[in-house]
Symmetry: C2
Subunit: 306 residues, 2 copies
């Protein structure tokens, strides 16, 4: 089924205890669509870059079957640029540079032929831009998944609440779930957030795994245990890409199938963090992916004798 992805397409410069990069390809929509491309080939991307964005980077997306017709290239403008440094524990980071550039007045134009996707993945962007895009579609997608972050809760909570009412699935981390709901208990946070709109909530806990809430049901997926986390950049977006990719491939949006989608998302994210930037999610074989998914199953598999 068709998948439309929006979010940032950007330059990242990353510093971790293991090394640093120059400006490399980054952005939420980049990671999402690359990860989703392992599951479905009917992917289109809506986004904006400046004319400093190398055509080789766009080609890289096209080579994965991602339609970039909706990627606006602004003449004489610069692409969104983010630079950050991770600390030793890899769980915390500081932002060194944020240059919005083309993103500051991003108008998400939806080409006619992309306006009726089966699945819509709203990568992290200003919530007002996310809702604008939904409003421009010619029909309501089968499923809308929204990612956001604490930054928008701090400066655009009203817009965020408006967009939340329009989506089916929200993906945020545990601290963000607490901030959004005002509840410390994640069980209570999930209930509160379901009242704000999304009927499915995914709470990403990084190295501690991920939770899926839907009505009274809950599913927990562990994170892969890795010898080293090399670079966490894009892990959450890669997770979201694997998740929506699996749903778009199967067309099944039941809770049971979302559980599988979370395992695929977790597997993709575990590859992502093993190298810098997008490097490790450019060439995963089906065998590698299956082996990783099996490792997830083994990790928490136990036969009880009740």
């Amino acid at each position: 089924m068709s998948l439309l992805v929006t979010g940032t397409v950007a330059f990242d410069a990353i510093e971790t205890p293991f090394g640093k990069t120059d400006k490399i390809i980054g952005g939420a929509a980049t990671y999402i669509s690359l990860a989703a491309s392992y599951f479905t080939k009917d992917i289109s991307l809506i986004g904006v870059v400046g004319d400093d964005f190398p055509s080789a980077y766009i080609q890289l997306l096209n080579d994965k079957g991602i339609n970039t017709e909706g990627l606006q290239i602004k003449e004489n403008e610069k692409s969104f640029f983010w630079s950050g440094r991770y600390f030793n524990d890899m769980n915390s980071r500081e932002t060194l540079i944020t240059e919005l550039n083309v993103l500051s007045d991003f108008d998400p134009i939806v080409p006619q032929e992309l306006s009726s996707p089966d699945f819509l993945m709203l990568g992290n962007l200003a919530p007002i831009v996310q809702s604008m895009l939904i409003n421009r579609l010619s029909k309501r997608p089968k499923l809308i998944v929204m990612d956001t972050m604490n930054f928008w809760m701090d400066i655009a909570m009203d817009d965020l609440k408006t967009t939340l009412k329009m989506v089916d699935v929200l993906t945020i981390n545990d601290e963000e779930a607490r901030q959004l709901s005002g509840k410390y208990s994640l069980v209570k946070a999930a209930k509160k957030i379901s009242e704000m709109g999304p009927q499915f909530l995914i709470i990403k806990k990084g190295e501690h795994g991920a939770l899926l809430f839907h009505k009274d049901q809950v599913f927990f997926a562990p994170a892969m245990l890795l010898e080293d986390v090399f670079d966490p950049t894009g892990a959450g977006d890669t997770f979201a890409g694997g998740f929506i990719g699996w749903l778009a491939k199967t067309g099944d949006i039941s809770f049971e199938n979302m559980k599988r989608a979370i395992i695929y998302g977790s597997a993709m994210a575990s590859f992502c963090v093993e190298k810098f930037g997008t490097e490790n999610i450019l060439s995963i074989s089906q065998e590698q992916l299956n082996a990783r998914v099996k490792a997830f199953q083994t990790l928490s598999s136990v036969e009880m004798k009740l």
Copy 2:
């Protein structure tokens, strides 16, 4: 099979955002043996209290089938007392009072008839006391499980390393695993700690679950998702008690059976935190326990289609 438990037997005074207690029964050996009593009835306890310790508290242990013949009662001395306050997130606490009292010169005397247990659980105590007790046994138990904490890593690392060489299973939390091994990655920490002695390592991650490492095998058990955590005191000890209790009941110390033991430990710990102190682990029915274990299985159960 027979189980010998040692550790503190104490008074606790606890303050949480939900309320506070006067001096109530506490201590590592108390929680461990109470939790283990749900699985096996051949339990003896080695410990020390002052003559201020109510006989009703000792009776409470006896009523659960716990043999307290090895519990020394020191005339004209006071029991170990700990008082602590939990913060809003329940993951951090401050110690308000620690009065060692009888614990300051605890000599773990092992009555002859308790000196050849099948299983030995060393609850948190000075590592030199833990090793002294092992040395006084007339035969080596089938399995020795040791709990410890960062405090001993700070002030008695050499003693701790000596005791580590004598035990089969170590249970610590993630920060302690990092401190003990000097490695941030838990996979690397586990390898390093296995070189220090214990062939099985359990890393307790509180609300984030628990990990079991053995050679190249690893198992992850999620923590139960609870609406509210009322009082985390004793959760780690209750976990250890459920773990060793299941092993002593079944007599099976394979990796597969330790996985089950971890689920039982996690289930017991999830009951513990739902009320103050030992209150909630005094009267769990078999039906409640089975239902909780099933809930653990459901929580991370997913059928993949590979």
